[in-house]
Amino acid sequence: MEHFLEQVKKPDNIPIVGLIFLIIFYTVWAFKQAFANDKSEVTREMANSEKVQTWPNLVKVEFVAAIVVMLLLTVWSIAIDAPLEEPANPSKTPNPSKAPWYFLGLQELLVYFDPWIAGVVLPSIIIIGLMAIPYIDFNEKGNGYYTYKERKLAIWTFCFGFLVLWITLIISGTFLRGPGWNWFAPWNEWDTHKVVALTNVDLSELFRIRDYTTASIFGGIVTLGYFGIGTVLPLKWFGKKQPELLKTMGMVRYFTISSLYLMMFGVVIKIILRVTLNIKYIWVTPWFNI
């Protein structure tokens, strides 16, 4: 417990404690407004869409908001000092070494993926995927007001990626990872000598494949098969059940959407495989491992 509290009370981690409450607060607020809008005849935004003078109606809100934020910052800056540890010393590695908190979700992913995926490919995909959202979400409804009913899938996807994956991984990486990047429950002591038996196996070994080349081919089939089947099956289903929808969507959109979904769920699948079956790699090759 003591080490957990130490983490919570670290000045640099206070923002994350705040973030947890802020995220809950704003999520509840957003969904409350969405449900209220879904229930009523006219959305709140629609009912309030008459024009008003910016001065004073908007400017006064900005003024009050600015004062509140400045007050908060002033009190925070008086009450809590920014950390300054010992001078930089390249020969003294702290254990654990942690990146700044906003990158700990990615550092957490290092447990499940090699650095080229966790540190380079996934961040790039996140940035590109975020930028792609307006072009792949072709649902015309729910533009400019809170609603859940009119865009359920989009909201589920975003909340899953942002709240469940990004925020949860950050919290885990910040508060629950101790020496050796081992996982410690809040009530556990941080034991520097904790050794977790490395019983991780590759997926091929689970299937008793010993030969490297065969394992490599096997992994390739599984990985590419996941993406291939994951792309083709829903396409077939759409073609049969929702041909109109598929037509509006178009092929480029379909492939972008399906690859992004497959990658997002791929991350989740790999995490689950590691946690339950201690799978290290699904696909080994001489050049990269996944």
């Binding site: 923002p15 802020l22 704003y26 999520t27 607020w29 957003a30 407004q33 969405a34 005849e41 959305t43 709140r44 935004e45 309030n48 869409s49 008459e50 024009k51 003078q53 910016t54 109606n57 908007l58 400017v59 809100v61 900005e62 908001a65 934020v69 400045m70 910052l73 925070w76 800056s77 000092d81 300054l84 540890e85 010992e86 930089a88 010393n89 390249p90 070494s97 942690k98 990146a99 906003y102 990158f103 550092q107 650095p115 080229w116 540190g119 380079v120 490919v121 940035i127 930028m131 959202i133 307006p134 015309e140 409804k141 533009n143 400019g144 007001y145 809170y146 909201i155 942002f162 990269f288």
Partner: protein
């Protein structure tokens, strides 16, 4: 009794404030139009756009924090030298000997952390109101660039105190660059293409094979010149596009349920 209208009718006053202040709609409009900063806004907006429940004011708060960071950052620059020799001592001097130095440093750090949070919340709000939908697709993309720049600003600033926290956090972060496919010496196809620890993309980023004095200088220059200018340009485009895309998003008359 002092007659205040003597002042407000004076040449000096009238040269500063270009219109009278009686509470008329015309003057309220001029109040916005005649002011270069307030002129960011239209003179009239829909009522929901003034509703804290709708925007949460998050974009504006993010911008305010950026301004706070600019001011406190300039003050810190007066006392800080980005060399391995001086950086840490300057931090100590700043904290213990400069009047309000510690306060300035605290405010710079906490505003930076807070800005990361408010950018995320702003993005979350824009998503939840579906405000990225046409015609605002492009401005959402600009927003994603702003998000990336905000994180890079935070990250480059993290190294500057040159303490244990700083170099190890940045070491962990930049170690990932080793593994960049093709461009990193530990990344897929990197070694095959002749990448070594002393010529790959991480080397270019750090100016060396470890987080050393050269890295401190590079991060400093990125942190105080390049990234702030870049983010300012993108913020300008962002605000411009908010206006050009028709102001704050909102329901259209056709959204009325039958």
């Amino acid at each position: 009794m002092f007659n205040f209208s003597k002042v407000t009718k004076s040449q000096v006053w009238e040269s500063v404030f270009r219109h009278p202040y009686e509470d008329t709609n015309r003057n309220r409009m001029l109040q916005i139009l005649d002011n270069v900063f307030l002129h960011l806004h239209p003179t009239k907006i829909p009522r929901y756009a003034t509703d804290v429940g709708f925007t949460w004011g998050m974009g504006g708060i993010t911008f305010l924090l950026f301004l706070v960071l600019t001011v406190t950052g300039v003050l810190l620059m007066f006392y800080y030298r980005p060399t391995a020799e001086f950086a840490y001592d300057d931090m100590n001097y700043l904290q213990h000997d400069v009047p309000f130095g510690l306060f300035m440093r605290n405010m710079h750090r906490w505003a930076a952390h807070l800005m990361v949070i408010t950018v995320w919340l702003h993005m979350f709000r824009v998503f939840m109101t579906g405000s990225y939908k046409p015609p605002r697709e492009f401005n959402w993309g600009i927003g994603v660039i702003l998000l990336t720049l905000t994180l890079l600003l935070s990250f480059t600033g993290y190294l500057l105190p040159w303490d244990q926290l700083a170099i190890w956090a940045v070491t962990v972060g930049t170690n990932m660059a080793r593994a960049t496919p093709i461009l990193g010496h530990e990344g897929p196809l990197g070694p095959e293409l002749g990448m070594r620890a002393d010529n790959d993309v991480r080397f270019a980023l750090l100016g060396g094979t470890v987080v050393g004095p050269a890295a401190l200088m590079r991060f400093y220059v990125l942190h105080v010149i390049f990234l702030p200018i870049a983010i300012s340009v993108f913020i300008a485009v962002h605000f411009w596009r908010v206006r050009k895309d028709g102001g704050i998003s909102g329901p259209r008359p056709s959204d009325k349920k039958k």
